[in-house]
């Protein structure tokens, strides 16, 4: 069975098309449940190609700060960049960056159990999401600037500054109402 990508104004959760509003709630819930909720900004937002990219970067920082404010003791939100798509042999440092060709290493190393990709080009996001889905139990979210990602467990489409801020608002709204998981991805969450 394949996954249809959402139309504008919609998102998908585990392949089921839902109104975008429902996806904000679910994504926020997943972040607040996770032991290590992590944002993975990619080259499209890390580099200030234009004003829009820089604004998205500001919104991502806001979302990260909101996560830090809203989680409970024992939860550790992270912000780990994917600066480019080089295979980076002989090694990368999973503490400080994620490599699209071996995303599972960073996820295992940091015990990440929920992550969101944003600003990653489609082909590399697809590759990374497939590897993560195949090799970890991490919940994947894609804040996609195009039509959405079938390989993410939850995917938005047409990402914008407003949508990132809306997600931050949803996190704030659900603060304190979601019970965090006690174990991380590595230990079989």
């Amino acid at each position: 069975m394949g996954i249809c990508l959402p139309n504008p104004g919609e998102a998908h959760i585990n392949g089921v098309i839902v109104p975008e509003e429902k996806a904000y709630e679910e994504a926020a819930k997943q972040f607040l449940m996770a032991k290590v909720p992590t944002l993975f900004p990619g080259p499209l937002v890390l580099w200030a190609w234009n004003e829009k990219a820089a604004k998205k970067a500001t919104a991502i920082r806001h979302l990260y700060n909101t996560l830090k404010e809203c989680v409970q003791p024992g939860q550790t939100p992270m912000l780990i960049p994917m600066p480019d798509y080089r295979p980076k042999y002989p090694k990368i440092n999973p503490e400080v960056e994620i490599n699209p060709n071996h995303p599972n290493l960073t996820i295992w190393h940091n015990k990440i159990d929920c992550c969101m990709f944003i600003g990653v080009h489609c082909h590399q996001a697809n590759l990374s999401l497939k590897i993560i889905r195949g090799g970890t139990s991490c919940y994947t979210i894609a804040m996609c600037a195009q039509a959405g990602h079938e390989d993410a467990m939850l995917s938005f489409r047409d990402a914008s500054v407003e949508k990132i801020m809306k997600l931050a608002d949803a996190v704030k709204r659900l603060k304190g109402s979601v019970k965090p998981r006690l174990t991380s991805a590595k230990h079989g969450a």
Partner: protein, 301 residues
């Protein structure tokens, strides 16, 4: 053409790995007189590499990357071989081609860049080993030269297939016995510099990479001539120390020994008439600039 094009988003600056921050802060993108002397004073366009300890190819890479006149607007095309292990660590746009296909890819790329960016200088530089350039890709190499494609071809000549264990290549010297070529080579080393000249290259140099200033000069010349006139070719001796039974520290001496006037890597250069004229013009402009700068400095003093 400057660092304006590689700005990190302010709000995410602190999470960027330090090598990227260093590239933005102190790499020599946009510097007019960049060259090998920047090594040590600025961030190099090559991060750690995965070549063997003491490999002369790593020296060659560092000198070439330090010498490209326009790195932010250069695309390098690589091919299968030891060089392909380095490209992921290089902060210049690059494409990995199929084995031997590099000059065909570069031809299309150069033409596409000219159409896409008509008002901007875009350089294309092929960098491949001798297997890709002379054996598997000889057809593509020659056809690009016949068609007068405006890009530079650099061949790292280590005289065998190094990273697959030492098989015979067209550029191996006659009689050489390699690990995977136990009979010894029966034929002469292919004379690619001469073939390049006859195939229409406007600038051809054969040398070793023992002298950084020489590499800086020939790389700059090759790129400038390719940009304005037509194809150029550099054949650089980068011995595989493992395959010729040397130690890590002996690569430089091996190159020095091989570049003596009677040896096979004695410096060889060919410059076509239009290329000579261009180089003379460039030299005259540089001289003028230097004189003007000197005058300005003396006025200021």
């Amino acid at each position: 053409m400057s660092k304006e094009r590689i700005k990190i988003s302010e709000d995410l600056y602190d999470i960027m790995p330090s090598d990227y921050q260093d590239l933005v802060k102190s790499a020599t993108y946009g510097k007019e007189d960049r060259g090998w002397k920047d090594i040590g004073n600025s961030k190099e366009l090559i991060e750690q590499h995965s070549l063997c300890a003491g490999c002369p190819e790593s020296m060659a890479f560092r000198y070439i990357l330090a010498s490209l006149p326009n790195p932010e607007d250069t695309v390098m095309v690589g091919s299968t071989g030891c060089t392909s292990l380095v490209f992921p660590m290089v902060a210049v746009h690059n494409i990995h081609s199929l084995f031997g296909n590099q000059n065909a890819i570069a031809s299309g790329l150069k033409r596409a860049l000219s159409v896409r960016f008509p008002g901007r200088t875009k350089d294309v530089v092929v960098l491949a080993g001798d297997g890709a350039t002379v054996d598997i890709g000889l057809d593509m190499t020659l056809q690009a030269w016949f068609r007068q494609e405006k890009f530079t071809t650099i061949c790292f000549d280590n005289e065998l297939y190094a990273n697959t264990g030492g098989q015979e290549s067209g550029l191996m010297q006659k009689g050489f016995v390699a690990k995977m070529a136990p009979v010894g080579k029966l034929f002469d080393k292919v004379r690619l510099p001469e073939i390049a000249r006859e195939s229409g290259c406007h600038y051809v140099v054969q040398c070793t990479v023992s002298k950084p200033s020489l590499i800086e000069k020939v790389v700059r010349n090759a790129v400038m001539i390719a940009r304005e006139i037509g194809p150029t070719y550099l054949q650089l001796y980068t011995p595989c120390i493992l395959e010729i039974g040397k130690n890590s520290m002996e690569g430089l001496q091996e190159m020095r020994d091989s570049e003596k006037p009677t040896e096979r890597f004695a410096y060889k250069e060919y410059i076509s008439e239009p290329a000579k004229q261009l180089l003379a013009e460039v030299a005259a402009k540089d001289k003028e600039k230097k004189a003007a700068a000197k005058q300005l400095a003396s006025q200021g003093a």
